[in-house]
């Protein structure tokens, strides 16, 4: 049993042979390892002989054999009765986490279950309304009636774009389908943004525009590669099992990161390379590598001949229309999209990509850049299978240019559409998004020059005071976005600092007060979550709704190789917590919207299936098959257990068949059978012609911003980049409630190079302050007319950039693993989000933040309690072994 203070246990109860067994997948990272849950009534226990326990295994067991750690056990309520619950990786798994491999995150899933005897006791149990500043319990009807009344007023008087939603994009199909049905189909608001970006649309537009779907690869492809270029992530730390089950012992790894990590240490010791880039410079690194490849003629000519689009093929099918969708104008504008000869000519004449310049700007030695070009292509010898994986250090530093130059580098090496030769994201969260309708871009108040409507930047929209009602579901919003402390200040102005505050529990009084707030220019905020979060729940929200989460209702989604599984319910949701689809449906019904008559999780799952048709996560065939069998969709998925099936699901010769990889030139498709949809991108690239595009990435589109934000050593400024570590998932909402993890990380950290540490008198274990009053924030720029009105220089000239401040604290860890001049912090600690020190100026081409390019000054506050005591927080470098 987990207590607030961590006590390592020396025994664990074993599930008896008749324990209930549920299959599920991990709730955390993209990999989605398969797990099994055993539940049985308190008062019973199994024994150590194989026939005495539900695992059918002896205790003690053997290396790699089944085992149950004490942190894989908890007590939960099942049908109102206390039960043991043991959550262990599926030791019989043959996919994903073969043989029961697992990360420290998933390995401690049991500790996330609600148990009032553990730190999970502060789960949200009931709807609450803030009355006289205090969150006060109300019933669901009151909360939903108030939301509907205020929403109707806002929509009637201020229009759809004043009614906003900010939600997770991944927390199961059932919930995201309900969210998109409400936001896009029923309300039709452009004021919507997913949890990790300021607006809808592409995450990695440069790769997408090249014709590559970002989760096209299968985990087997990473194992089958001879060499993998990994950009902006260490999979060991953040998608652990992809690294430990599929990359270790196989391909050579080339890792481009500003910081040496445990994965990098492994790569270097096993024939790989570490490219320690200066933050924000990957584009020039990619271009320099590509240029060397072209100079030497090492590109995959056969592949390029067959699979790279010509000028005509880029234009084909476009007609002479307006081309006002973002990918159309980006690829045909002339500034980016080109054919092979055009790309070659551009790059060979593009001075910033010259090796000497690239080596200086990126900080990567010229000989290493040369070596990479050889490793990826064979340098004129036999061509290795090269694959390319990337993540947020890449696309959250310089969104469009980094992704476009990365894709081009991969394509020149012949990657993208063959086993072991792939270009793919490695992933962050799992894939649980289904759109019931498209985002209404035509309603967006934001546009680029020409007829180029872009998805609304919701953060800037809030900052401008244009949102009157916002429903936030399962995200911190303020902390997760850029310049987060400045952002939270604006939220407070619009909500708790507005004169119209609720002082009575009378429903009509509440409605009248909130409508008066709206009419005075203020904002009403509703927050659905499992725990109360800072500051959105603790300070800002008027209404807080309790959500049922993983293990508390049946739900489905895919992992990073599009593998669909059922996440089974195995215990009772706490209090009156409900799945988010339920809250949305009851709200929608009050609004008079039709089509929300759902009674159980499966109702939504089945309805959503047809909206998945023809898309990457297409599971329509599964629901169709279930109906033939007289079963529910969830039931058939449950039968597939932890193996599940890879989407898109096809019907071939009378059975469901998964799709191993996308753009698979080796896949032979017969005529589509049953309800199967054969999309072009199953066997070709996702472009008009089915061929991939080489996209230019001129550094000048970024360099004005980059020069402005580069830390000035004279002022004591350092880069402050950020990222994840194995032990912490997202905002640590579960981890700070897992005593085992809390012992490891009772506080947040910042890594600093010994040279910098010496300059500021900082030692490992010291508490430090990170601060800046030069955090840039874009304040306007909605309607861009002239050709140059999107770029940073013009925004500055037009007075649309202001400077704000950020100020957080952390525990210092002194290590040579970070570059001199670069600090590395955990990206989203709840109390001290490093995002406070990140500029809120999105990439003008894609409206995506450069989260990884923060800056800070640093000063020592004093010794932390962890500096010399032994109970909590290890200060050893994470590469301590290497």
């Amino acid at each position: 049993m987990a207590e607030d203070t961590y006590t390592p246990q020396d025994s664990v109860p074993l599930p008896p042979p008749d324990a209930n067994v549920h299959t599920t997948a991990c709730d955390y990272c993209i990999v989605g390892c398969g797990y099994k849950v055993y539940t049985w009534p308190v008062g019973e226990e199994g024994g150590p002989a194989p026939d005495q326990n539900a695992l059918g295994s002896p205790f003690p067991g053997s290396v790699l054999g089944p085992w149950i750690s004490p942190n894989q056990h908890n007590i939960v309520m099942v049908d109102g009765r206390p039960h043991h619950a043991v959550v262990v990786p599926d030791f019989q798994a043959t996919v994903v986490n073969k043989g029961g491999n697992h990360s420290i995150r998933g390995g401690t899933l049991a500790l996330k279950c609600y148990n009032p005897e553990t730190p999970t006791r502060d789960r949200l149990l009931y709807p609450q309304i803030r009355v006289n500043g205090e969150l006060t319990r109300v019933d669901w009807d009151t909360a939903l009636d108030v939301m509907a009344a205020v929403s109707e007023h806002v929509l009637r008087n201020y229009g759809e774009s004043a009614w906003a939603m900010k939600t997770y994009s991944y927390e199961f199909f059932e919930n995201t389908y309900a969210i998109t049905k409400l936001a896009f189909a029923s309300i039709g608001t452009p004021a919507y943004a997913p949890h990790d970006k300021p607006g809808s649309g592409n995450d990695t537009a440069g790769v997408d525009d090249s014709g590559i779907i970002t989760f096209s690869a299968s985990y087997q492809d990473w194992a089958d590669a001879d060499v993998i270029y990994i950009s902006g992530t260490d999979p060991f730390e953040t998608k652990t099992i992809v690294f430990t089950s599929w990359m270790m012992g196989g391909p050579k790894l080339i890792m481009a990161l500003p910081r040496r990590t445990a994965g990098v240490a492994y790569a270097e010791a096993n024939g790989g390379l570490f490219l320690q880039v200066i933050p924000g410079t990957d584009t020039l690194l990619h271009l320099a590598i590509s240029r060397i490849i072209l100079e030497n003629g090492w590109e995959d000519k056969e592949f390029i001949e067959e699979w790279i689009a010509s000028k005509w093929e880029i234009e084909m099918g476009m007609g002479r229309g307006t081309r006002n969708t973002p990918w159309q104008w980006r690829t045909t504008w002339g500034q980016f999209g080109t054919d092979f000869e055009g790309y070659r000519e551009w790059l060979l004449n593009y001075e910033p990509a010259e090796l000497a310049n690239a080596a200086e700007v990126t900080g990567v030695p010229a000989e290493k850049i040369q070596q990479v070009a050889e490793m990826l292509t064979g340098g004129g010898g036999p061509r290795p299978k090269a694959s390319f994986g990337f993540e947020k250090g890449n696309y959250w530093s310089n969104n469009y240019l980094n992704t476009a130059s990365f894709a081009a580098m991969g394509l020149l090496c012949g990657a993208g559409n063959r086993p072991g030769q792939v270009i793919s994201r490695l992933g962050g969260h799992q894939r649980g998004w289904i759109g019931a309708a498209s985002y209404p871009r035509e309603k967006s108040p934001e546009k680029l020059p020409g007829r180029r409507k872009v998805e609304l930047d919701l953060d800037r929209w809030v900052e401008a005071g244009n949102v009157r009602f916002a429903w936030v579901i399962g995200t911190t919003w303020t902390a997760a976005m850029a310049a987060s402390q400045e952002f939270a200040r604006r939220f407070r102005e619009l909500t708790v600092e507005n004169p119209h505050q609720i002082t009575s529990l009378n429903k009509q009084d509440i409605i009248n007060t909130l409508i008066a707030r709206v009419d005075s220019g203020g904002m009403v905020v509703v927050d659905s979550d499992i725990y109360i979060i800072e500051p959105l729940g603790t300070e800002i929200a008027d209404i807080v709704l309790p959500a049922a989460a993983w293990g508390e209702h049946d739900a489905a989604r895919c992992n990073g190789e599009r593998r669909l599984r059922l996440y089974s319910k195995f215990y009772d949701p706490p209090g009156e917590a409900k799945p988010d689809w339920w809250a949305i449906s009851r709200f929608a019904q009050r609004m008079g919207f039709e089509g929300y008559d759902w009674h159980e999780d499966n109702d939504v799952f089945e309805e959503a299936a047809r909206f998945s048709r023809g898309k990457v996560l297409d599971y329509n065939v599964l629901v169709w098959y279930a109906r033939q069998q007289g079963k529910k969709g969830h039931e058939v998925l449950r039968e597939l257990g932890t193996e599940g099936i890879q989407t898109p699901i096809r019907w071939v010769n009378g059975q469901m068949v998964g799709t191993v990889r996308l753009h698979d030139s080796t896949l032979e498709l017969g005529p589509p059978e049953g309800p199967t949809v054969h999309s072009k991108w199953l066997t070709h690239f996702k472009t008009q012609s089915g061929k991939a595009l080489l996209i230019k990435s001129p550094w000048e589109l970024f360099s004005d911003f980059y020069e402005r934000i580069k830390p000035d050593p004279e002022k004591g400024e350092l880069w402050l980049t950020n990222g994840r570590i194995n032990e912490i998932w997202q905002s640590a909402f579960d981890d700070i409630r897992k005593p085992y993890i809390k012992q490891r990380w009772p506080d947040t950290f910042v890594e600093i190079h010994p040279d910098d540490a010496a300059q500021y008198g900082i030692e490992s274990g010291d508490e430090v302050r990170l601060f800046s009053d030069d955090i840039l924030i874009q304040t306007g720029g909605w309607i861009r007319v002239r050709g140059d009105e999107y770029n940073f220089t013009t925004l500055m000239e037009q007075g649309l950039i202001r400077a704000g401040s950020g100020d957080v604290r952390a525990i210092a860890i002194v290590t040579a693993d970070v570059r001199p001049g670069v600090l590395f912090a955990n990206f989203l600690h709840p109390a001290d989000p490093a995002n406070s020190l990140v500029h809120r100026v999105p990439d003008p081409i894609t409206n995506r933040y450069r989260f990884k390019l923060g800056k800070a000054q640093i000063e020592r506050i004093g010794e932390s309690p962890y500096k010399n005591a032994f109970e909590q927080m290890s200060l050893k470098p994470r590469t301590a072994s290497g």
Binding site: P60, N71, G107, T108, R744, F870, K876
Partner: protein
């Protein structure tokens, strides 16, 4: 070897009650008073009353960074442990410099063998050859980086003169469901 232990079939709540009620039988991991800091949570505790006392080595015979293997609390392959003298004081460390510690040698991720991976100079065990987990030997075997869902089980030590005595285990040994259930039974 004593078989005295709390009822293994007891519910988890009563186990916790046992821990609370029998505080006098609990031994705080030895944290020297001058290193204690206000504001830290309560000490880490282990139940020691059920474990045997076993002499596992002599202080005078230990050399820096040279691990010495021993079995405890059972004569069983999974309960193979290492006694090691570090270059720095450690949580639970004994000897004049509080730098002598002992840990189980199986990685608590999937049981990988850590033999040969005890680095006294850095106070680190690992990386585990299977999946690269590392453990901090100065902080009770806490995971530095990696996947284990439990710290490396620490053998609780006492000294009597030159003798180093194992008196308990902090944390479940990989493969076991109870450290005190006889694996050879």
């Amino acid at each position: 070897m004593t078989d005295k232990r709390c009822d293994p079939m007891a519910g988890i709540a009563s186990r916790r009650d046992f821990l609370k009620l029998s505080g006098s039988a609990l031994v705080a991991l030895t944290l020297p008073p001058h290193l204690r800091r206000p504001g830290l949570p309560a000490r880490l505790y282990a139940r020691q009353v059920e474990y045997p006392r076993q002499v596992i080595g002599r202080l005078s015979e230990l050399e820096f960074g040279q691990p010495v293997s021993f079995n405890y609390p059972w004569d069983h392959p999974a309960s193979t442990n290492f006694l090691i003298k570090l270059n720095e004081p450690a949580g639970g460390g004994v000897g004049p410099d509080q730098n002598v510690v002992a840990f189980n040698s199986l990685c608590t991720h999937q049981g990988g063998p850590l033999a040969g991976q005890f680095h006294g100079d850095r106070g680190v065990a690992g990386p585990c050859p299977l999946h690269l987990t590392t453990f901090d030997l100065t902080r009770h075997g806490m995971v530095i980086s990696g996947h284990a869902t439990l710290g490396l089980p620490q053998i609780i030590l006492e000294t009597e003169g030159d003798d180093i005595i194992a008196t308990g285990v902090l944390g479940l040994i990989f493969g076991y469901h109870s450290n005190l259930a006889d694996p050879n039974a």
